[in-house]
Symmetry: C2
Subunit: 203 residues, 2 copies
C-alpha cells in the first residue's frame, strides 16, 4: 500500500498510529505530498478528487481518502484490533473519534485562518468560534478523562493525535492548564511505541 503523507498532519498521524498498532506499518510506503487548502497537490489529485492527506492507495490500486475510512480499512485488513466491532464499545469509540476529529477540524480552520489568509482577510468572529469549539471539546474530554483510561481504540487514538497536534501547532493555548487530567492521560498514551514512531518533527 501507499500513503500520501505529511509529517504535521494529525489525520495522517491517526492512520500511521493505527498502522503501527495493527502491525501493518511496514506494508505501507509513505509518499511525500504538498496538500494545501488552496493550492492542490497534483500527485494526489491524479488519484483522488479531494487531493488531501491522508489518501491511501490499496494493493488493488483503489484510492481511499479520509482518515476514518482508511483506519477502518486497515483494521479490517488486520482482522480487527482498534475498531470495536459492535455494541456500546463501537459507538463510544466512533463517537470519541468524531468529537476529536471535530476539534481537529476547528484547529485546522484556525491555523488556515492565521497562516493561509492575509491579515486583512481574517475574521475575529471565525477565530473566536473555532477556539470555543476546541475549548469545549477539551472540557468534554477532561470531564471524561477516566473513561479514556487504558482503552486503545480509534477513539482514544484520535484524541491522542488531536492533543499532540495542539502541542505542536498551538503551544500558546497551554491546553494542559485547562485540562490537567487529560494531560496526564495524554502523556501516558504518548509513550506507546505507535505514538513515539509517528511523532511530528518540532514545528
Amino acid at each position: 500500500m501507499k500513503l500520501f503523507h505529511s509529517p504535521f498532519s494529525p489525520f495522517v498521524r491517526k492512520v500511521t498510529v493505527v498502522a503501527h498498532e495493527l502491525g501493518l506499518a511496514e506494508r505501507i510506503e509513505l509518499l511525500p505530498s504538498a496538500a494545501h487548502p488552496t493550492q492542490r497537490d497534483a500527485s494526489i489529485l491524479a488519484v483522488h478528487p479531494l487531493a488531501q492527506v491522508p489518501t491511501l492507495i490499496t494493493d488493488e490500486g483503489h484510492a481511499l481518502a479520509d482518515s476514518r475510512v482508511i483506519c477502518e480499512y486497515l483494521d479490517a485488513l488486520a482482522g480487527g484490533g482498534v475498531f470495536p466491532s459492535s455494541g456500546p464499545a463501537r459507538w463510544t469509540a466512533l463517537g470519541d473519534q468524531s468529537t476529536a476529529d471535530g476539534l481537529l477540524d476547528a484547529a485546522l480552520l484556525l491555523r488556515y485562518e492565521l497562516t493561509v489568509r492575509g491579515e486583512g482577510d481574517r475574521s475575529v468572529a471565525w477565530i473566536a468560534g473555532q477556539t470555543a469549539k476546541i475549548e469545549g471539546v477539551l472540557d468534554h474530554f477532561e470531564a471524561g478523562a477516566e473513561a479514556l483510561a487504558d482503552r486503545v481504540d480509534i477513539g482514544t487514538i484520535t484524541v491522542a493525535c488531536a492533543l499532540g497536534y495542539l502541542d505542536v501547532r498551538f503551544p500558546d493555548l497551554i491546553w494542559r492548564r485547562r485540562a490537567p487530567g487529560l494531560g496526564r492521560w495524554a502523556d501516558g498514551f504518548a509513550a506507546r511505541p505507535s505514538m513515539e514512531a509517528t511523532k511530528p518533527p518540532a514545528a
Copy 2:
C-alpha cells in the same frame, strides 16, 4: 430518539434519508436548532461539545454527533440496510460517502465565506480552492456515474444529498451542465420516497 435538526443542513438530510430508508423515521423526534459556525447553539451544546447538527440523542440518553456515526448507528439499530457489512461493497460505499462529504465540507466553507463573513474578510484564494474541490468531485462522480446506478447505500445517499444541497444553495453553479450524467442519476434518486420526504424548503 431525538435529533437536532436544521431543514437546510445536508448532513441532517443524510441522517433523515437513512432513517426513512431503514423504516426508523417515526422513532425520531426532530428538535429545532440554530447551529451556526460562530454562534453556538446552547441547547445542542448542553448535550455535545461540538454543538453541531446533526446531533442524535439515543433512547439510552447518549449524544452522538456527526452524520457518519449517526447513520451507522441507525443502520445497526435496524439490523443493517444501507451500510454494506464488509468487503469491496463497504469500501466503495464508505469511500463515496467520504468523497461526497468532502464536497459538502467545501460547499459549506464556501457558503460561510460568502454569508457569515463580512465582505472585507473574504479570501479570493480560499473561494477558488473550495470551488475547485467541488468541481473536482463533480467530475469524479460524473466519470463514475454508471457505478452509482441502482445502488442504495450510504455512499449514494450522501452523493444525492450533496447534489441536492448544491441545487438549493448554489444554483448559479449550474452543476448539471458540468455533470449531465450525474444529473440524470440524481433526478432518478431524488424520486425515492426518502428523498421526497426530506426535501429542503425553497431557499
